[in-house]
Symmetry: C2
Subunit: 236 residues, 2 copies
Amino acid sequence: MSEIPGLRSAAGEQQGRQIPPASLARLTIYLRALNSLLAEGIERVSSDELAEAAGVNSPMLRKDLSYLGSYGTRGVGYDVQYLNSQISTALGLSQDWRVAIVGAGNLGRALAGYSGFQSRGFEVVALFDADQLIVGTEVGWLRVSPVQDLATVLGRTRANMAVLAVPAGVAQSLCDELVDAGITSILSFAPVVLQIPDHVQLRKVDMATELQILAYHAQRAQDPDLESGPRARAAQ
Amino acid sequence: MSEIPGLRSAAGEQQGRQIPPASLARLTIYLRALNSLLAEGIERVSSDELAEAAGVNSPMLRKDLSYLGSYGTRGVGYDVQYLNSQISTALGLSQDWRVAIVGAGNLGRALAGYSGFQSRGFEVVALFDADQLIVGTEVGWLRVSPVQDLATVLGRTRANMAVLAVPAGVAQSLCDELVDAGITSILSFAPVVLQIPDHVQLRKVDMATELQILAYHAQRAQDPDLESGPRARAAQ
DNA sequence: CAGTGTGAACACATTCACAGCA
DNA sequence: TGCTGTGAATGTGTTCACACTG
């Protein structure tokens, strides 16, 4: 059992093609599901089962996987371990990512202590704050550094990603500092539009936006407005 | 200045149509930008200016606004105050939303104290935790309630939305309790796929997913792979 | 023959050019 | 004249049916 399909060109195959953004987002979910299966000691899954676990339908799952290559066995399914490692390398999770968190308020501390990072190949290597009362305190295994030392500490810790967990007002200037220090991947929780150069990747999470979207749907659900033809059930 | 276009059928117009999900997400950004302009005392904006402030291009902004109705003035632009209120009512932000936060760890506390909620029409009315050491403590204006009292407290506080900020392992059962207690809008930060009935709206934020997506792009940027024709710059 | 992999059909989102109005 | 509003064209994402294979 679990014979591993052709290993030639280990992480290669159709690596050159861009994975469509929508698929990319779902691949991370499949990875999570595969890790759960792995933890349960399950060795094989069918696309139906994995799709169920990931909350999508199986044709979509298969199409998503097809952007990476053909890692399943027809009539059988996927080897959990093998598929897991294939997706991981495709997503670039085989190298170590060193994350700096800027802002050690509740959110920054929550992120610093979030086990989901460590367990999925991200190491938090620095934590910054501007508040003198917070600087120097310990959060988990980390000591909070002063933002003044941003560039220095980023260099020393060889951080290659950053998370912005600071108030909106100071986000742009700190973002600029991160970029100047050579960071090219930033995840921002600040509720502002950040200006960045082309070569920098920025992703944003805005919790108020999420609630507003929920509010919109909730409002429509309660007013029995013009609920037109096709049942408008927003997918998970 | 600022003559207000036809008020007949106040919040009506083409309210019946569903706003496309992609537009909906951006409308919340426009709202944020309009609030900033309002704070600066600016009364009018053109689609170019507002698009710039929101980090999108202006045809897209105009198309998004067109799903709500025609609230601009040709040759002039938009009245900031008026457009702000039109988008707000379209999104259902004119009624009061009462949010319960389940989980008073660092993340839950960060959310409870997040000024972006209060300022945008969301009131945090309850905060729950399972840990006896945390129950009873104060976070901002709130006292942490025991999860055992979930249904009771949700009823008393008339919460109509919930945020799940709990570990993956207990998310599903708490989600079920929320649903049983009549909550139909849930924002989950737990890194698991949640099972929900059709009438419940669920949105998910997964920070590890965000970092993984960044990792993918960063990996591609460093390996000068097959960088094919069209410059693959992931939009903000 | 069960279950993967994928091309072709469909639905949705974005872009663009320009008509229409203050 | 300047800027909004929108239909038509393009591009992207999803669904589906089924060919293919272990």
